[in-house]
């Protein structure tokens, strides 16, 4: 477990699969080998009106931590993260009369997972309720757990295969956490930020 940076890669005039193909070729040319696939998903639940003011619970899964369910509660004033065992999903079913999910909000990022030296690279095709929304590139630098200490190195690596589309600044979520110890919940937070932006986008009329 190291530091992870998540960044969006523009598709420009390409389709989703074409973009993934281009990026796969670039990362393979650098010497990366594909090590399976990955999947991050997010379901969002909204509180029933009887519970008082509206609260939102985002429930996320990451195939990198297959036995854990990550939840992020937004109560309007506070944002509280929670990590639990897999059975939390069963508990959410029990809560179905208090918290319900809108089927149109199910977000997913999935695709090939590569390893290259100390880095792990994931090329994700993002869909919201099965509609293609864009490409998210995740890069993890595994030997380090403090973002500030490896950001410059990761920026260089990202720009090395994303070119000008690589990030120039750390993700917004990480900016005031650069000196803290990185945890898998931070990766989940970054995914949620991107999913939230994607959900607000109008359909871009492109098939995955």
């Amino acid at each position: 477990m190291g530091v992870t940076i998540l960044t969006q890669f523009p598709t420009e005039n390409r389709t989703g699969p074409q973009t993934i193909d281009v990026l796969s070729k670039r990362i393979s040319a650098l010497g990366a080998t594909q090590q399976g696939q990955f999947l991050v998903d997010c379901e969002t639940y909204t509180s029933a009106p009887q519970l008082g003011h509206q609260r939102i619970v985002h429930v996320l899964h990451n195939s990198e931590q297959p036995a854990t369910v990550f939840s992020i509660l937004e109560s309007g004033t506070k944002t509280i993260p929670l990590a639990t065992d897999g059975l939390f999903d069963l508990l959410m079913m029990k809560m179905s009369s208090f918290y319900t999910s809108k089927k149109q909000t199910k977000a997913e990022s999935k695709g090939p997972r590569f390893e290259i030296g100390d880095f792990c690279v994931k090329l994700g095709t993002v869909t919201i309720s099965s509609n293609f929304k864009g490409i998210l590139v995740e890069v993890e630098y595994r030997p380090c757990v403090v973002p500030a200490m490896c950001w410059d190195l990761m920026k260089e690596f990202l720009q090395g295969f994303l070119g000008l589309s690589g990030p120039t600044n750390p993700p917004a979520y990480l900016q005031n956490r650069m000196q803290e110890i990185y945890s898998p919940l931070d990766t989940v937070h970054q995914y949620l930020e991107h999913f939230t932006v994607f959900r607000k986008l109008p359909g871009i009329g492109m098939r995955p």
């Binding site: 696939q37 519970l51 509280i80 639990t84 065992d85 069963l90």
Partner: protein
């Protein structure tokens, strides 16, 4: 480049686990109590009967908080009980979150109480999480005692203390002059045979402690 099959979603694997009935979501339970002056005799007997003979019983010192999630202004009241348990003696242990359903007493032929249960480890943010989720803290207590194992069965002998003082574990007062004794098994539904094993084990603790199916509704009436 090798191709690999895509990982299934977590919900797919949960549905599969539910379908195969491998999730331990039923708790079989018997409860009883023993007076303080006889607890040493009971512990001695349990040491002889249970599996962890060499290492001795495992001690615990836990703080349990009982929450409910309820919806107001509805015709049929909706109540979801949720419990959080944290170890006071092991600071880096994960917190436990637990849903415990309505208990089924069943008829005389059924040897134990059966109630649905969803038990999971969680991060320490759970108390804030539940509070902001809309849960209300109904009551809390401290439980200190010993845990024994016999196969799949778990036996706990615990002293229950009222909360007191500003910090948990400080200035607590015992609620009675006895220890709570519980015999339980968490298993997937339909494994009713375990109830019989529990009945036989409970027999071996008589007359020191009478482990029974406790009907909370009747206890409630007695208090009135």
């Amino acid at each position: 480049m090798s191709t690999h099959s895509a990982p299934g979603t977590a919900m797919d694997s949960l549905s599969a686990a539910l379908k195969c009935n491998i999730i331990p979501n039923q708790e079989y339970l018997l409860q009883g109590s023993v007076l303080d002056q006889y607890v040493e005799v009971l512990l001695h007997r349990l040491r002889g009967l249970c599996d962890n003979v060499d290492s001795g019983p495992e001690s615990f010192h836990d703080h349990e908080l009982c929450f409910t999630l309820r919806a107001a202004n509805t015709g049929t009241p909706m109540v979801l009980p949720l419990r959080v348990r944290r170890a006071l003696d092991v600071s880096d242990a994960p917190f436990q979150l637990r849903y415990v359903g309505q208990q089924e007493l069943g008829d005389k032929s059924r040897p134990t109480v059966v109630r649905s249960s969803i038990d999971m480890a969680c991060s320490s943010t759970i108390i804030d999480f539940l509070t902001e989720l809309g849960c209300r803290l109904d009551f809390e207590y401290i439980a200190r005692g010993y845990m024994f194992r016999k196969g799949r069965m778990k036996i706990t002998v615990s002293k229950i203390f009222k909360m007191g003082g500003s910090k948990p574990g400080e200035g607590v007062e015992a609620i009675s002059q006895s220890y709570l004794v519980e015999l339980s098994v968490l298993a997937p539904s339909g494994q009713d045979a375990i109830g019989e094993d529990m009945r036989i084990f409970a027999e071996q603790l008589r007359p020191l402690v009478q482990l029974e199916k406790i009907d909370y509704k009747r206890l409630g009436n007695m208090a009135m």
